[in-house]
Amino acid sequence: MEKDFTRLNYYEMLDIKPNATALEIRVAYNSALQMYQPDSLVSYSFFSQKERKEILARLEKAYFTLINEKEREIYNGELVRAGVLKSTEISPAAKGLVSIFEFNRQKDTPGMPKIHSSELKEKFSQNQRIREIISRQEIKGADLKEIRNELGVTIETIHQQTKIRLDYLHWVEDDKTEKLPAAVFLKGFIKSYLKCLCIEPADEISARYMNSLEHKN
């Protein structure tokens, strides 16, 4: 019998060592997502919806903290002060380039929710709300989020399919414009995001998104 999940530190939560590299952190997060996502065979009957939501939120917090060098340092400091970690356990070489795209060795893993494009297309063509949103001149991150929710696709699924980092996806959807990457990258992301949801015409809609962004700044 061990510690309650809620008492695990971020490293324990993701089953990694305190000196894990960025790549290891990503791989661990990916495999955790596979276990805890709503359609995962492993955990489907084990948790209530509420519990699952809490766990996914915790995992996400853990991931974002550890993947961000500065935040990880602060967090490590807290653990050391609390006597949970020794400073020698934390490798100074925990750095390394963090790429925008996820590195994910595993191919399509069984148990991962797949996006069925025919289903999405049908939903898309029948959903009044979505049609209304994409007919607007101005399109914001919040609109994309709404479309995604209407289609019932989780942000993790988009992340898995497009390999765009989750934090970028969140920043897009929450319109945290100051954090977004350079326009050339961003436009590519938006296009992948739309294609992943089978929203057409992706080119044209992503152009409108970019325009709206420029207007705002």
């Binding site: 019998m1 061990e2 695990l8 065979l41 492993v42 009957s45 948790f47």
Partner: protein, 306 residues
């Protein structure tokens, strides 16, 4: 003392009896004196799987005192070193076995002179099933990769978990605990015994220490049966990971057994699958499983009934 292997799994048809008979056959083949006990009372069929079509005595004769000693209900099978206590004639359902009879049975099992004793437990979470599962720390859970089967095996694990905690409390103490849990966590707490432990930790720290020690001594195992090509081979270890992280139970993943049409054929012909189809994937898996388990006998504990 014998190694006792209770085999359980919440759902019917997952392959408990097939695995019990196959493991029994492999152990016997290796020259180990092995006894199968069919405790799936009310739905017993283990005798058919080991080719004893007309058992002339069975477990209920011991319960009804027609036969005084449990060892006198043992039947020989056509296979050297493999023996059986059949459940065939039992009009009795396992749920109706009285407490005294159950304790008497557990004590008798502990005294039997065999190297290995395999208990086929049948589906469901009746209290008697839980207690027989807890007859040793080496219980084996069986599930298939279907959500319904996994759901039931989780239910069984939680039921066993709760049953073991219950063991450390008198009726009154447990009532007090239940009340406390209800106060703190609301009404549906009993679906999630792991939440109870948090309360035990706080309110009964000395009991918590005992329970923790107890749980850490278990060597439960999980077998994933009837795996088809498209199923994830990771599933079993992921289940164990969830159980460890969120329930605090150590369950070792013992292996996958492939789905194989020949199992059905062998059962229909009432011949041993391992003998009839030794070169199939499933037969390989079974031998591998047996090898692994023979290397990992945990400490034997007949739990607290003696």
């Amino acid at each position: 003392m014998a190694h006792i292997w209770p085999i359980g799994g919440g759902k019917g048809g997952s392959g408990k009896s097939f695995l019990a008979s196959s493991l029994g056959r492999l152990l016997a083949k290796a020259g180990k004196k092995t006894l199968l006990i069919d405790l799936d009372l009310g739905a017993a069929n283990l005798h058919t799987m080991v080719d004893v079509p007309y058992p002339d005595k069975c477990f209920s004769d011991f319960v009804s005192r027609k036969i005084n000693l449990l060892e006198d209900t043992v039947l020989a099978t056509p296979f050297p070193h493999l023996f059986l206590i059949s459940g065939a004639h039992d009009s009795l359902d396992i749920a109706n076995l009285s407490y005294e009879k159950k304790i008497k049975t557990l004590k008798s099992i502990a005294k039997l002179k065999y190297e290995h004793i395999i208990l086929d437990l049948g589906a469901g979470t009746a209290i008697n099933t839980l207690d027989f599962f807890l007859a040793s720390g080496n219980g084996i859970f069986v599930t298939t990769p279907e959500p319904t089967s996994i759901e039931n095996v989780y239910r069984l694990m939680r039921a066993i978990y709760l049953r073991r905690i219950r063991h450390y409390f008198t009726t009154d103490e447990f009532k007090a605990l239940e009340k406390k849990v209800k106060e703190l966590l609301g009404d549906d707490y009993f679906n999630k015994p792991e939440n109870i432990v948090a309360v035990v930790r706080k309110e009964f720290p000395e009991k918590f220490a005992l329970i923790r020690k107890d749980f850490n001594s278990f060597h439960f195992k999980l077998i994933l049966n009837q795996l088809r090509k498209q199923d994830s081979v990771e599933l079993g270890s992921q289940i164990c990971k969830i159980i460890k992280k969120h329930l605090g139970l150590h369950v070792d993943f013992a292996g996958n057994i492939a789905y194989d049409e020949h199992v059905h054929d062998a059962i229909c012909q009432r011949v041993s699958f391992l003998d009839r189809y030794p070169h199939t994937r499933a037969a390989n898996d079974l031998r591998e499983l047996n090898r692994k388990m023979s290397n990992s006998f945990g400490e034997q504990l007949i739990l607290n009934y003696l």
